[in-house]
């Protein structure tokens, strides 16, 4: 339990770093570390496949995509964030921590839930048989993503007349 909380705190800290670090590469890397921690949390929550996906795809592939983009856009003007925004962040964070804590505490025993027995079957059966529609949708999403990249990086055949 304690390890879990430490992991969660680490996740939050690296997320905060990801938005506060000035260097975008470092920010992307701390996002990757946060993903890694999230993956470990998934493992510990008995969701190994999700953990593997999180680590390989999000911490790996998406980070690579981010770094690629940062590299491609490096030559432009540096966009500096306002100092006030960064300075004010801890204040807001603490404020939200308090609100969040109070809300969750007040909800603590209030959310009723149906009792649920242990699941049957294996992960594969659930994914393939119970959530088949999601697989179809996944195909659609992947197709959409690929086509979006194709469309956005196409060479223009001719210039549009504005």
């Amino acid at each position: 339990m304690v390890i879990q909380i430490i992991l969660l705190c680490g996740l939050v800290i690296f997320s905060v770093l990801a938005i506060l670090l000035k260097d975008l590469i470092k920010a992307a890397l701390s996002l990757a570390v946060a993903s890694l921690l999230l993956g470990i949390i998934f493992f510990r929550l008995a969701a190994p496949y999700a953990g593997v996906f999180e680590i390989s795809v999000v911490a790996g592939l998406i980070t690579v995509l981010f770094i690629l983009t940062i590299a491609l856009t490096k030559k432009g003007d540096e966009v500096t964030e306002a100092r006030l925004v960064k300075l004010a962040f801890p204040v807001f964070l603490i404020l939200f921590l308090v609100i969040d804590g109070l809300v969750m505490k007040s909800l603590l025993q209030k959310i009723p839930a149906l009792p649920s027995g242990p699941e049957t079957g294996t992960f594969g059966q659930v994914l393939w048989k119970q959530r088949t529609f999601d697989l179809v949708a996944q195909v659609g999403v992947i197709l959409a993503g690929v086509l979006a990249v194709l469309a956005l990086f196409r060479k223009k055949e001719e210039d549009r007349d504005e």
């Binding site: 996906f53 969040d100 959409a144």
Partner: protein, 102 residues
């Protein structure tokens, strides 16, 4: 077991807040998208934790995986957009993206 759920939801809400704060105040397009990623981490944490706490982990796991796939497609589309915007603008400042108004 139920109290544990609120612990995870607490952290998920925290992540969503961090992302929203960045989206609302910061300027760099790439950083904004990092913020979106943080929000989606919060969401996937909530999904898996809910499944784990409520004895539904197999189902929640498959949802989380599907959600990650969606995330990848979104990242691809969004980063492609950002690169295209950079090509036009030579800048990543979100404040410059205010030509359409009124």
């Amino acid at each position: 077991m139920s109290n544990l759920w609120f612990l995870y939801l607490f952290f998920a809400a925290l992540l969503v807040f961090i992302g929203l704060y960045c989206l609302l105040t910061m300027r760099n397009l790439i950083r904004l998208f990092i913020a979106v990623e943080i929000i989606s981490k919060g969401v996937s944490l909530a999904i898996v934790a809910t499944g784990a706490v409520k004895n539904n982990i197999l189902l929640a796991q498959s949802l989380a995986i599907t959600y990650i796939v969606v995330e990848v497609a979104l990242v691809a589309a969004a980063l492609a957009l950002i690169i295209n915007i950079y090509k036009k603008n030579r800048s990543l400042d979100v404040r410059l993206l205010s030509k359409l108004k009124g």
